[in-house]
């Protein structure tokens, strides 16, 4: 097992390096010179040239590539143009927010997806099954950015301004303006309230996909002999479903973790942008519009590395849970 994990980790290294290479050359193939965005009117050409030298832009691409990869391996991602701080510091400010949001969304998505998928499979061909299928397919086909806007419209704007609901949710940011003056429990509640809508916009779309998959997986398991045996020996239906069928049906669902992490990160870009959530997704969009190349490269690299790690984690989990998988 340890050998398998180590081998997979070593296999991921060239993959990550390859990704870094793609990022570097895509960004460097872009037309335009980043120093042009730092120019002030009346700057002499000597100053601009000095800027280019300072940022190493006067050197040929392959030299810059080697230097960039070399620096990256020592944890130095360069200096952000727009924040005037080391890129790593900037990313470390944003990363926790993205991780909190993604973790909540992923957790909720799997919870809702597994529950709904199981209900559908157990009640196959019932009215409930078809109704859920339609609703789930509707959410599955939905762009998360539109869902986010509709949630804001319903549970934030209309709830607060038109319908006067007792509960409404904030539509932007991670905390209210008065956050610093609240007590500790109020602070937690305030943060939780801000998490609700962004989490829902991400989780509902994912949950629909997970439920569809779960339904299929559960149906396959329910048809198998050991489930029939469990029923035949007189076990109550609850035990059959939850102890025998569900556990086995969950195994293939693990692969979805690896599959859905890229989808989730794509979703966070929109959701963070819409909800003004200070995370990596919003940071990368802003960095691109400001031509902050070091930040763009580092942020895409972080995203890609997290996807590689998530895939690896899913494979290892799969091998742990399912003894039939050979990992030699």
């Amino acid at each position: 097992m340890t050998r398998y994990v180590v081998r997979r980790l070593l296999g991921a290294v060239p993959l990550v390096l390859g990704i870094a290479t793609i990022i570097f050359f895509v960004v460097n193939a872009a037309p335009g010179d980043p120093t042009l965005y730092m120019m002030a009117p009346g700057m002499s050409s000597e100053v601009v040239e000095q800027l280019r030298v300072n940022y190493g832009l006067d050197q040929p691409v392959h030299v810059r590539y080697v230097k960039w990869v070399g620096a990256m391996l020592t944890g130095d991602f360069g200096y952000s143009f727009s924040y005037n701080r080391p890129v790593l510091d900037v990313l470390m400010d944003f990363l926790p927010n993205t991780l909190v949001l993604s973790a909540c969304a992923l957790g909720l998505a799997f919870l809702v997806g597994i529950v709904l998928g199981t209900i559908q499979a157990v009640k196959q061909y019932s009215g409930l099954d078809s109704a859920l299928s339609v609703v789930l397919l509707f959410f599955y086909s939905m762009p998360s950015f539109w869902l986010a806007l509709m949630l804001i419209l319903t549970f934030s704007l209309m709830a607060r301004n038109v319908w006067d609901w007792p509960i409404y949710f904030p539509a932007s940011g991670i905390t209210s303006t008065g956050h610093d003056f609240m007590g500790p429990w109020e602070q937690v509640a305030d943060r939780a309230r801000h998490l609700v809508l962004p989490t829902l916009s991400l989780a509902l779309v994912l949950a629909a996909g997970i439920a569809r998959y779960m339904r299929g997986s559960m149906l396959e398991v329910i048809r198998q002999d050991f489930v029939r045996t469990a029923r035949a020996k007189g076990l109550p239906e609850r035990t059959v479903v939850f102890k025998h069928a569900l556990r086995n049906a969950l195994i293939p669902v693990i692969t979805l973790v690896g599959l859905y992490i890229p989808v989730l990160f794509s979703g966070t870009v929109f959701v963070e942008y819409i909800f003004a959530w200070p995370g990596m997704g919003r940071a990368i969009v802003e960095a691109i519009t400001r031509r902050d190349y070091p930040l763009v490269m580092a942020a895409s690299f972080f995203f890609a590395t997290m996807v590689v790690l998530a895939n690896l984690l899913a494979d290892v989990l799969y091998a742990v849970v399912d003894p039939r998988i050979r990992y030699e």
Partner: protein, 382 residues
């Protein structure tokens, strides 16, 4: 590929015969229970005929107008003729009992046409593409024409503007119809690009193996582990966003998943007897790949492509939403959703309807994709 000869088709092909088909093409087939083809032909006939009558002046003017209006007129004429001729000829066919050879594709078509939701999805998609083609004849207003900015901005749903107006007093319904053309064509072209590249490279990697396989598949691994949206926004933002760039970039970033599917299929096909026989006969590698491997690996590719069009439409809308896609004033569903973002409470229709359009389009593609997956997999056929 050819199965046993069996009796083809349902017992009654048509009800009402040629007489009914001459007046209402599709109706005889619909009444006989072949509701998929029947509804398609009937809808095409009624829809295009209504268009011809109600918008006669525009059809007349469009025949000598710019290329998209000519295309619209041609669509109407060909659609009408096609529905009529097909229904007439179909109604004249012998009732039943013809013994014919049935291929795997025939079986798949039959399995697909039994799946009602999938057929409904296919009809909706066909309708959307037809609507996109005839948009210049249907749209009530010019999508770029601004109304009176003092009185006609943010007008709600009304008879004059069924889906309201936007911040420049433009008609939302007209923009929605024109936006469909952008979304649908980008989706189709991008997926066509990716399927072509993916199938070729996947087949080459799977069949040749060795160095070619390693190089191609390592590259595929890299691109797949990249969150696609990040790659897209990076590329598009660094260059100048335009419809052509988006289509190309969407197409060029989707192919790795197709390549992976095709490679997997080819790896198993490679060991089968018919391929061994082709090798023994001394056929060239090109011939084996194009004539023997690719046609047999296509079924999962078709499913992935159908679902991929839906995904691509969502992605394109997302990019346009971020301002990195189709640039204003060209209408696109993504930019329209974005336009309503700041005025959600005052003009809820601006974001809502383009979003619903995306959802229903993608939903149809997903329904058809699911139906195709069930129909093309012999194990799932009942």
């Amino acid at each position: 590929m050819v199965g046993d000869p069996v009796t083809a088709g349902p017992r009654r092909r048509v009800v009402g015969g040629r007489g009914l088909s001459a007046v209402l093409p599709g109706a005889p087939q619909l009444l006989a229970g072949r509701w998929g083809v029947g509804a398609a032909a009937l809808l095409a006939w009624v829809g295009f005929l209504w268009l011809l009558v109600a918008r006669w002046d525009r059809v007349w003017a469009g025949a000598g107008g710019p290329w998209d209006e000519r295309l619209a007129v041609a669509t109407v004429v060909l659609g009408l003729a096609g529905a009529w001729v097909w229904s007439w000829r179909d109604a004249g066919q012998p009732l039943a009992g013809r013994a014919v050879a049935v291929s795997q594709w025939d079986l798949a078509v039959r399995a697909f046409s039994r799946n009602r939701t999938a057929v409904a999805g296919l009809i909706v998609i066909g309708g959307l593409y037809a609507l996109a083609l005839v948009t210049p004849l249907v749209a009530p207003y010019d999508p770029l024409a601004q109304g009176d900015l003092m009185t006609e901005r943010y007008v709600g749903l009304s008879a004059a503007h069924p889906l309201g107006t936007d911040q420049f007093a433009r008609d939302v319904l007209s923009r929605l119809l024109y936006g469909a053309r952008i979304s649908l064509s980008i989706g189709f072209v991008a997926v066509a690009i990716s399927v072509t590249i993916g199938t070729l490279l996947g087949a080459v990697a799977g069949y040749l193996g060795g160095l070619a396989d390693t190089v191609i598949m390592r590259f595929v691994d890299m691109v797949i582990s990249f969150p696609r949206l990040i790659l897209l926004i990076t590329i598009i933002a660094l260059f100048q966003p335009s419809i052509f760039l988006i289509t190309a970039v969407l197409g060029l970033t989707l192919w790795p998943s197709t390549a992976r599917i095709v490679r997997g299929e080819v790896l198993s096909l490679r060991e089968r007897e018919f391929v061994q026989a082709a090798v023994a006969l001394g056929y060239s590698k090109t011939r084996i790949i194009f004539k023997h491997l690719i046609p047999n690996a296509l079924a999962p590719v078709i499913v992935a492509a159908t679902l991929g069009i839906g995904n691509t439409i969502v992605l394109e809308a997302g990019l346009s939403f971020l301002g990195l896609g189709v640039q204003p004033p060209t209408p696109s569903w993504g930019t329209m959703v974005d336009a309503g973002r700041g005025v959600l409470l005052d003009a809820w229709w601006l974001s809502t309807f383009p979003g619903l359009a995306i959802v229903f389009t993608v939903l149809s593609f997903n329904l058809v994709g699911d139906g195709l997956r069930d129909a093309l997999d012999p194990r799932l056929r009942s």
